[in-house]
């Protein structure tokens, strides 16, 4: 099972370090428009969200690309920039808005997971970003749910036992 960048809204403080390191590790300068991960803020509600490519199993961006610039390698969707014709169809098609565009080079850009060591995860100061297999996350959630259900079950079992 491939790993993915997983975001925990409870831990995010909106510091934008994910955007900054992403931009820098890809372009050697700091430009938010070059970042493959974007952080959104609702100050009033104190909600911060970082969004990046979820590496779809059956990616629409790849399907729509007329120049076959997009390809999959070990579950990661990548771009061969030399093939990209800058038509932006991938951006229009991605249901999550996770494809971006480098105006200067005239090519689409996206998260390619930094060769298996996503910098946004490495630099995230609060642990809001993790790089994990989704099954691990699902399992953690199930374990949390199990703990809650267990409590309820034990309480109700105690009642049954008394009623017996």
């Amino acid at each position: 099972m491939a790993k993915m960048v997983i975001f925990d809204a409870k831990k995010c403080i909106g510091c934008k370090i994910c955007e900054l390191i992403c931009s820098f590790s890809n372009t050697k300068e700091f430009g938010i428009s070059n970042a493959r991960i974007r952080n959104f803020i609702d100050l009033q509600e104190a909600v911060f969200f970082s969004l990046t490519c979820v590496q779809c199993k059956d990616p629409l961006c790849l399907k729509v690309c007329p120049s076959h610039a997009l390809y999959q390698e070990d579950g990661v969707i990548k771009i061969q920039s030399t093939k990209c014709i800058g038509c932006k169809l991938c951006m229009l098609t991605c249901p999550f808005g996770n494809m971006h565009f480098d105006d200067e080079r005239g090519v689409a850009i996206k998260c390619e997971l930094c060769g298996g060591n996503p910098k946004c995860v490495e630099y995230c100061p609060t642990g809001a970003l993790r790089y994990q297999e989704i099954e691990t996350v699902a399992l953690e959630k199930q374990k949390t749910l199990f703990a809650k259900l267990k409590e309820t079950y034990l309480e109700s079992r105690a009642v049954w036992e008394t009623e017996k």
């Binding site: 403080i13 820098f24 050697k28 430009g31 070059n34």
Partner: protein, 646 residues
């Protein structure tokens, strides 16, 4: 191959003619003044005509992004606002954060010099190498939050917004501006200077990437710092509770009340405003400035009662609890938030207002101010009166018109002798109290700071109680204090001479503000002079060694001082409050003024001796408190500024 040097760009805007020019800062100037605050001071020297009325359209507002703004350097979002401030009539530097520095650099600029006066209320919009003035007559009269929300609704909340409220429009001298609704900047009337220019807001955004001269070297320097950052104990706790991680320490020091005559009850402070109250009833979330991994910005919400649903913002709830709960006696946390919210909306500085109001109530209680003076308003420390007087201040009605002009107006109106009872310097309230946290560099510097009673340039280990002599030695080492200076600092009966230390902390503060790095704990104290030199040199391509940087810090502070000497300030303005000499009354007995290590009770003679030590350490004249020609020459200022010695 020559190294890529990153140019520093200045946009000069005349609001009257709506014309602008773009200049590149000379390399020599960049080397001499670093960036951010440093180059801002140089621009102030060039652009602020001496002895101007702060509300003269010719008085410019200089906004300076730190040299590392918009990068990954942790906590590098500080931005400086330099102008002649109306409250103190000093040329001062206000310092704020959130996204302004990042967005200014993304728009392609490092500094703005804004002069003139817009024909109608306007918003100055800076975007991708350009600026425009937008008609903002519809925003005039709106509060600061409404203004910011309205701009975000129109342009998107990825724009940085530095806005003012009604207090700024009405030229209230204890006004301030807020960046992105949450970071205050320009205590002492930046908002009023903006108001005098018909400037409701400055907004910025852009698509320019911030370039780095030597990316690999730069990243190594950032990584080395990150490793150190990860060693901060209780890092997660700070992220969760902010300044409450030192609540016990704050309690040890205590909160002054009743004009600085008494200490608030510790038990009551914990019951009303302690960590449990914060976590259970106040906290909605915590926000980091761009690049800051240890946020101190609070999003606060009243969760029950009359003001249920009220959401407001601050850098720390503790300070607001002290301002309104303790000094103004407004009551529980929900009322503190209600009053603070209103102050933010009006664009009034919470620290300045609460100190001034507390002082005014004390004068009222003593009979120095009477009902005739206040036009029938009985001044007292409660929720209703505090709110009422705040409104009167923002709209300059009746007695509020005096408070709007600060301590100096109170002294003018009710007697110069009141100075002896006031905790202020050059007309600005003093945030810290040496009778509680002992005379450290932070409390000392409020007296000598050219801007007025502002403490940040005195940031050292003495900021909290309980530090050892070795902590101070380590501080001197990491901030590049020479061996001789170190010997002078540690030579004396008080173990550490805080006045001499303050000379060096103000220089390190100048460097940090020039880079745009936050000086506040827990991040600021992690930075060393070597870090600063490596980060700056690799980012800018202008190679500065640690000692070059240390000297630049001294040069910046000396020019900052000289600009204020040009304004007419001198030794007579570096006055210690007499009140410091009267012990504060507390539950555990009296709290007299003592040195940091509590070796003795300090007298005015001791304080004057320390003032002399400070001037001596600075290389300034003992009689006048002004930098000597020899010092200015040593710093190369005559040559750099192209003026003749003398």
């Amino acid at each position: 191959m020559t190294k890529k040097e990153i140019p520093t760009k200045v946009l000069e805007i005349d609001l009257s003619s709506v014309k602008g020019t773009i200049n590149i800062v000379d390399r020599d100037i960049q080397q001499a003044f670093i960036g951010g605050f440093g180059i801002g001071v140089k621009l102030a020297y060039d652009h602020i005509e001496p002895r101007l009325n702060p509300f003269d359209p010719r008085n410019p507002i200089i906004i300076s992004a730190g040299a590392l703004g918009g990068t990954l350097v942790p906590s590098s979002s500080r931005v400086a606002a330099i102008t002649k401030y109306p409250l103190t009539e000093t040329v001062g530097m206000g310092n704020g954060s959130m996204s302004l520095s990042q967005k200014l650099r993304a728009a392609g600029f490092d500094h703005l010099v804004i002069s003139g006066k817009a024909e109608v209320p306007s918003v100055l919009r800076i975007f991708d190498n350009k600026f425009e003035l937008l008609d903002a007559r519809d925003l005039w009269g709106k509060d600061l939050y409404e203004t910011t929300d309205s701009i975000w609704d129109r342009f998107g909340n990825d724009w940085s917004v530095l806005a003012i409220g009604q207090a700024g429009e009405n030229l209230v001298e204890i006004s301030m501006a807020l960046i992105d609704k949450i970071a205050s900047i320009g205590k002492g009337g930046l908002a009023a200077v903006m108001g005098s220019k018909n400037l409701k807001a400055i907004i910025a955004n852009g698509t320019h990437p911030v370039p780095i001269s030597d990316p690999d070297r730069f990243l190594s320097a950032v990584d080395a710092f990150y490793q150190r950052f990860k060693t901060i104990p209780n890092r997660d706790e700070f992220i969760d509770v902010g300044v409450y991680w030192k609540w016990d320490k704050s309690m040890e020091e205590g909160f002054p009340m009743r004009g600085g005559n008494e200490v608030f009850s510790k038990e009551k402070a914990t019951e009303l405003y302690g960590k449990d109250v914060y976590l259970g009833k106040v906290k909605k979330g915590r926000a980091g400035c761009p690049s800051c991994p240890m946020p101190d910005k609070e999003i606060m919400e009243v969760k029950e009662g009359e003001f249920k649903g009220l959401t407001t913002y601050a850098s720390g709830f503790v300070g607001r609890a002290w301002n309104y709960g303790i000094k103004c006696g407004v009551g529980n946390y929900d009322r503190v938030l209600k009053v603070h919210d209103r102050a933010n909306r009006l664009g009034i500085c919470s620290h300045a207002f609460s100190s001034l109001y507390d002082f005014a109530v004390m004068l009222f209680e003593k009979g120095r101010i009477d009902l005739k003076d206040t036009e029938g308003v009985k001044l007292k420390r409660d929720f209703e009166t505090t709110q009422k007087v705040m409104e009167m201040t923002a709209f300059r009605e009746g007695f509020g018109d005096i408070l709007a002009r600060g301590y100096k107006a109170l002294f003018d109106r009710f007697g110069e002798d009141l100075k002896a009872d006031a905790l202020q310097a050059k007309g600005m309230d003093m945030l810290y109290e040496p009778r509680l946290n002992r005379l450290g560099a932070k409390t000392f510097i409020m007296v000598v700071n050219p801007r007025g009673g502002q403490h940040q340039p005195g940031t050292t280990p003495a900021d909290s109680l309980g530090r050892t002599v070795d902590d101070f030695r380590a501080y001197c080492k990491t901030t590049g204090v020479s061996k001789d200076a170190t010997n002078r600092i540690f030579d004396g009966p008080m173990k550490v001479n805080m006045a001499r230390l303050a000379k060096h902390s103000q220089e390190f503060y100048s460097i940090m503000c020039s880079l745009g790095i936050c000086s506040k704990a827990p991040m600021g104290p992690l930075y060393s002079l070597d870090d600063c030199a490596e980060l700056y040199s690799s980012a800018s391509g202008v190679e500065l060694s640690p000692s070059d940087l240390k000297q630049a810090g001294e040069r910046i502070w000396n020019l900052y001082k000289m600009i204020n000497v040009r304004e007419g300030f001198g030794k007579a303005d570096d006055q210690f409050p007499h009140k410091w000499l009267i012990p504060m009354k507390g539950e555990e007995g009296e709290r007299p003024l003592m040195d940091y290590f509590e070796t003795k009770h300090l007298t005015m003679e001791d304080l004057q001796k320390l003032l002399g030590d400070y001037y001596d350490e600075c290389g300034w004249d003992q009689e006048t408190g002004v930098p000597t020609k020899g010092k200015l020459e040593e710093l190369g200022l005559y040559e750099i500024l192209g003026v003749e010695n003398g």
